[in-house]
Subunit: 192 residues, 2 copies
């Protein structure tokens, strides 16, 4: 039996709802209902309320997705196949969820970028961490540090753009094609 604590259920529901609906559109009430928890429990674990909960959701979702991407990259024979597998996996996830689940933090990040500097910084940290993880692997494959970082930034930008396009247009094909484009860019960097 997998026991789930109230705190875990709160965080889990919040992560899912924030990912799918964003920050402002997700109500505390809705999180409590999905979590089957009392409001006092939320404010017990997260004294800062919705804001604290969102910060935790951003950090944990960011770390979890990074671990997923790293495992995909590391289990591929080379970075070219690795990045393509990331896009293909992302496309499959988006499709499988009925175009609901894409990037775990993008919707919130876009929403609060101008209005909440603390959450904005949390999202920036997540992106930086993703970029570092990818750049490290490109370097390990022989790409020069500066180029590896640029390649990693492009990787995340293309992935985010692909997520948005797929969700809005209800079509995961562009995400897969973006994977091939990214693969070509990585290959070009490896050859030089």
């Amino acid at each position: 039996m997998t026991s789930t604590t109230t705190r875990e259920r709160l965080l889990g529901s919040a992560r899912t709802l924030f990912q799918r609906q964003g920050f402002a559109a997700t109500g505390i009430k809705q999180i409590l209902e999905v979590s089957d928890a009392a409001s006092a429990s939320l404010y017990h674990f997260y004294p800062g309320g919705k804001h604290d909960l969102a910060a935790d959701a951003i950090r944990t979702s960011g770390a979890e997705y990074q671990a997923l991407v790293e495992s995909v990259l590391d289990s591929a024979p080379d970075p070219c196949a690795g990045v393509r597998a990331c896009f293909d996996g992302a496309a499959s996830t988006v499709e499988a969820s009925g175009y609901q689940d894409a990037c775990p933090i993008a919707t919130v990040a876009s929403e609060i970028a101008n209005t909440d500097d603390e959450l904005r910084q949390a999202c920036a940290d997540v992106f930086d961490s993703w970029i570092d993880a990818a750049a490290k692997r490109f370097r390990a494959a022989g790409v020069k540090p500066a180029a590896a970082r640029e390649l990693a930034v492009t990787f995340i930008m293309l992935l985010e753009g692909g997520f948005l396009m797929a969700r809005v247009r209800r079509d995961a094909a562009p995400l897969r094609r973006a994977g091939r484009t990214m693969e070509a860019l990585v290959r070009a960097s490896l050859d030089s």
Copy 2:
């Protein structure tokens, strides 16, 4: 003297606020304050309220941004320089606004993609229209139709990913570098 009607002020404020804060985080009250209009006026021009107003904001902002992109592309000597100018211009706009103004519809699009099918469709139409406009120009430069369309989709994906990255990380450099990457992709398509 430029006379502005109440309807124009309502739509203008709504467009700006939705772009910067998203749909859910922007209140009718705030729109009315910025517009200096009465609530009855809003419901007079937009009987469907906030929803109708957002639909109009998405459509008009989408069309306006498309016109801007088209003028940049058409005034460049070739599509390579054109796409780069689009990214450079986007980066400058983001910087000049203090990282507030990026894509006019991305924040709302991301927010409502799972929850409001009518607004989602409006956003999808805008993206499709942008893609068509870019693909048309790539074809005119000699790129085969299928490749031109893929290139155009990549263009928008990279632009959207760049907007998000720039806003969240408060750094427009990735947006400019994305422009060079996109330029290289267009050039490669022209050569083949």
